[in-house]
Symmetry: C2
Subunit: 340 residues, 2 copies
């Protein structure tokens, strides 16, 4: 192929190279250029070679949107998240972005202000023809989840288990972790305990509580439950309330770390010594749990493994959609620090 430099204005001016530039240089139609880049499209070998030579010369790359019109999918994963104030979630976001990038996928970040993911967010994800969707700490109606299934868009509930068998979810084994934490506190000599609950309608809260109370009941250990909301302020205010009511247990199991830090600060404000007067265990193992100001004993969620399993499932489903439903639960481990 003979190249004529006057045919190269786009490259020389550093403009974006389009299919039009390639078609012009190759001496073929624009639609021939498109056909070369999409799997299964019919195009003669002669045309293909002309187009590829021109494209290489110009540095042309077909764009994702053009490709998506044919495949009907982009290489974008929608990630829905609510509580960025809880450091657990930015950590999850970072891990997902890193893993997906290694596979050529990008993350469209959807922040929900409300507990339930909103209609316009769903429409947006479908509109952008995302390859997959991950729902973290937001809730979603069954009807909406089914609409993704009908569109064959793979969906994972991350850190939330569903009480239906129709979806894929990836969690820490919260039930078992709750049991282990109860056994650990009993082994430390705690004679009565308080569970400070996170948002009561979440599976994480329900399972942690269930496992914890199950073991306490079997050991005849008295316990109480106080409801809170998985935030620092929630933990702080709930602990102040408990002290006003004048009930100080031997140990607290607090539904997540960020609440547990609030509990510790409230106890200290009232000069309650930890772990001599009472003990505190959190859940998640966020960075701050290891800070010297807190040294919080907690349950480490296996974030990297949870993210890896989610990514593997989504990539497999994107490649060959089966609609497989499974509740995957991974172990994690107790991190024994200074608050017990």
């Amino acid at each position: 192929m003979i190249l004529n430099l006057t045919d190269l204005p786009a490259k020389m001016n550093n403009h974006t190279i389009t299919a039009k530039d390639v078609a012009k240089l190759a001496g073929v139609s624009q639609s021939s250029v498109s056909r070369v880049y999409f799997e299964g499209a019919k195009v003669s070998e002669k045309t293909r070679l002309k187009v590829i030579a021109a494209a290489e010369e110009l540095g042309y790359k077909p764009n994702e949107f053009a490709r998506s019109l044919i495949t009907n999918r982009t290489k974008i994963i929608g990630l829905v998240m609510k509580g960025v104030q809880n450091p657990f979630y930015p950590q999850v976001l970072k891990q997902f972005t890193t893993f997906f990038k290694a596979h050529g996928y990008s993350v469209l970040f959807v922040h929900t202000n409300n507990e339930e993911i909103q209609k316009e967010d769903i429409e947006n994800l479908i509109n952008y023809k995302v390859a997959g969707v991950i729902i973290t700490d937001a809730t979603m109606s069954l009807k909406v989840a089914e609409s993704f299934q009908e569109s064959k868009i793979p969906l994972v509930f991350f850190n939330r288990k569903l009480y239906t068998d129709n979806f894929f979810s990836v969690c820490c084994n919260n039930l078992n972790a709750g049991r282990k934490i109860a056994e650990f506190l009993i082994s430390k000599g705690a004679k009565d305990m308080i569970y400070i609950a996170g948002n009561t309608d979440t599976s994480t809260n329900q399972d942690r509580q269930k496992g914890f109370f199950e073991v306490l009941a079997s050991h005849n250990i008295p316990y109480q439950k106080f409801s809170s909301d998985y935030t620092y302020e929630g933990g702080y205010n709930t602990a102040l309330q408990i002290m006003e009511d004048n009930v100080m247990p031997n140990a607290f199991f607090v539904g997540n770390d960020i609440m547990a830090l609030g509990v510790i600060d409230a106890l200290r404000k009232n000069s309650v010594t930890i772990p001599t007067t009472t003990r505190v265990v959190g859940f998640d193992n966020i960075d701050m749990a290891g800070w010297p100001a807190y040294e919080l004993t907690t349950w480490e969620q296996p974030i990297v493994e949870m993210v890896e399993q989610t990514v593997n499932y989504l990539l497999a489903e994107i490649h060959d959609y089966t609609g497989e439903a499974k509740a995957l639960e991974l172990d994690g481990r107790l991190i024994d620090r200074q608050t017990t």
Copy 2:
């Protein structure tokens, strides 16, 4: 128009409605359907009416990718971020997502592991034909930034000022804030001070330091500088080093809050009392700065206003590209708590 129910399999089965379905029902070609939805495309009034009636009947919405092929832009904003471990940035991400959503734009989250944004990230953003790009705590070569300008993709440096007049940046007025913090600590009676620097090549660090030292010098207050890295661990280790060297100043100005929390924890570990023996001031006003465990005096960055100005600029540039370059600096204010 007479509707025949047998023409409606897509809607009845809840499949995604495509231009093909609309074309079939309207009795026109698929390309006629496309032309109806893209500004400036030629189509007869008769065809237009047929298509719109069929589209309304089926609930068809043209997708963003098809639209982007014509406009050559999506309604996606690329947001590049490195330090999600610093709670300042998840807060920024949340604000941007909320503001952009109100204007129908989505956020593609790009996480850079390295200080400098990587080549594949840039290619990805251009490939997805983003409407605009926001660079937060990552750095970018001048050449890369210029490539966005050449593609007429508006670009904002957020929380980073550039030492060139060619780009739009939005920052807190760090120079002035550094001055005010120096004046404040002098007014509290501090006789000698230490500045703990964040990453030395960032404008935030350079400006805060410059303003701080300028005022101290003019008051003949002795000062020293120790280099760190804008992380909790960095602040903690730097403070331990300072105590080993046996230099305890009257006051510390620490480059950001997350480092300052590390400094406080290290001082307490060595039983240095705050604010009686020494004082600590941070920068950002992250949530944790207000927690009872720290009660850190700090400079509040006006995040909401900074985000709002960034969004306004980008939307204006997306609508009508001017390539306007400006270094916007917003004030913020001192939050006086218990560490001074």
